[in-house]
Amino acid sequence: MKTDLKWKLIAVFAIFVATIYIVLSKPIKLGLDLQGGMSIVLEVDVDHVIKTQYKQLAKDIKKKLKENKIDVLSIKVLDEKLIISLLDPTLNEKAFKIIKENFPQVDVKVSDSILNVSFSQWELNRIKKLTVQQAVETIRNRIDEFGKLNANVSKLGERRILVEIPGVVDPDRAKAIIGKTAQLELLEVVDSAYSKEELLKRYPEGIPEGTRILEGIPEEINGQKVKEWFLVKDTPIVTGSQLKDARASVDSRGKPAVNFELTDEGASIFGEATAKLIGKRIAIVLDNKVVSAPVVRSRISKSGQITGDFTPEEAADLAVILRAGALPAPVHILEERVIGPTLGKDSIDKTLKAGIAALILVGLFMIWRYAISGFISVVALLFNGLLIWAAIVFLDITLTLPGIAGIILNIGMAVDANVIIFERIKEELKKGRTLRVAVEEGFKRAWDAILDAQITTLIAAFVLFQFGTGPLKGFAATLSIGTVTSIFTALFVTKLFLDIILGGKKSLKYAF
């Protein structure tokens, strides 16, 4: 054997060993479509957060202007800006300067007699990014509280979140845990009534500034279904962010409830507030619904209880959600897929069968048509399969059902390069070239065509990877990996084995 062949053989053998090592190092990560599980795509309602931020900004600006002895006539909070009118419009320029100095995150414009204030694009992007990031972390925390689920929570695009939970999942429960905003607020009740109309009728000139109306949850009193409506102070006394702990428990009537405990800071604020509110009611509000509104009998500081119409499971889940924290904004489910474990197993079994069938069909054909070289190309094909496997493991790619389809498709495509080469060699042999020359010529001449062909396949795979959703990305991935690795096996490995077998022979029966 020539020395350069020896070195090439050693190189291929080294790659083979490395491949085997990688393949054995860890199992392939299976997609949810193969192992069963649930995937949800959520959209974070960042507009909601921006609106809340504008409300806060309005308060802050008003306060700052007051400090500077500028009286505000009105601040209108719109979706994408604040419109401020001053009592004395001649002070507009001064107010402009004050806002500009103290609130670097906003753009201010003076027009006519009003001030337009809006967050800068940079600030808006920052809020959006932060909100989605926080939402991802909160969902991660919630799922972690449930123990080892191997779930994947990741950002998807600008304002979306992908949650994937493998295994057997109760979809409704999972959605309740992931999707609940769980914004807990303790608010001072100003007034209440058993219908919204009745409540509104008491305020013919509109509800007082700094208050809002909230709905209670339906309950049965003397066999009649009723719902209480509340007029509450806008600013919460404490919120869920000041929560230290939450545990499922039972209330005084033995019904499931959730006990919560406030942080030290929260406790002192709440204690101070409740001391002033003895005899009045406070509303315990979860996601803008009043779950209960007890009367304050004495100063409460540390702990409280959320009661409502819970099942024991719901109470336990709510405790978990509260512990993990509220989502920074409501989320909406855009897409949801639940795959049972049997379907995934079926898919694996079936595609395995298809893969073997493809291998046998293609392999037999190649050996039939190209004899010894055909056999070599089948060896190269198997090597290619191994390389694809190793690449999937090494690059940490999730193998999906379309991904397997991509590998099977590759069985038929990978030999294409060999077919092009071998046909060329046959053609050269017909022209009367010696085996040696024909082989060299065949590999050299086929190179251009093979490269062009593989690149166009890669173009399609690349575009697919860009636009495809989860499972199809797996197809694009295996298709491109297979296309690249097959260039190595079909050209380099096949050529090496051919050179070794043919040696310096002028001709060999059944070589092609």
Partner: protein
Amino acid sequence: MRNFLDKTPNIDFLKIKKQGYIVSTLLVIASLVIIFTKGFNLGLDFTGGTSIQVKFIDRVDISQIRAALRLVNLQDSMIQEIGTEKVEYEIRVSLKKGKSSEIVQKVKKALKEKFGDRFEIRKIDYIGAVVGEELRKASVYSIVAVLVAILLYVGYRFEPVFAIGAVIPLFHDAIITLGIFALIGEEVNLAVIAAILTVLGYSLNDTIIIFDRIRENIKLRGKKNLLQLVNQSINENLSRTIITSGTTLFSVLALYLFGGESLKGFSLALLIGIIFGTYSSIYVASPLVVDLERFFRRKVTGEKTSKTV
């Protein structure tokens, strides 16, 4: 036998190019007519809605399932059989019918009432309206993106005439594949679009292999008798064209026959696409190169003559 096509055949492909053009044009027109009149059976990915895949222990008829769904007022849902054994079905409920979790509860309840525990929910998919719309757009964009990228690449590697000659047949392949899907009412979903993208990339392989040979022969003999040269290039490459497509078709066929229901549409699109892709690289792409070349040459010489006048 194993040496079939070893002797370079001498088929006059370009003699029948007119017929080839006519057949292809008719096929494309027919496909477009079917697509625009009958329309696609669009998959959940594009329509949005809730899809529930159920497997029964016993054989069940669609009418039995519909009767069960009548209990919860969902009898007008789409029910499709999966496979041919009458045990597995997909029930699809449109977005208008309400929240997906409620729909799933209703369907479960209805099936339980009628079939007891003798069924298993295998898969639930919910796609919201926003996502469906996005995926529809993304599919169209991605097909256009692939075509443009291919046009640029082939234009870069070959002469522009070849690039046009390579891309027009791709439209042909994609349209006919979609036309057949519309005709037989097979579902067009994301996986089918992925298959079509793959076909665009792959069916170009055949074309490129022939073009490559044409280019090689032009280098040897010049462009003088292009018609005969192209014809010879097709013939010289015939074994390659047939065998490369053949081995890939083996894989796709294995996938179609054994790969299970989830990959049926996907492998069918590949099957149709590759067959027409092979056909079009011989009967559409190569004749186009000859005709385009002639057309442009005439234009160039025509301009020259007009200048001298």
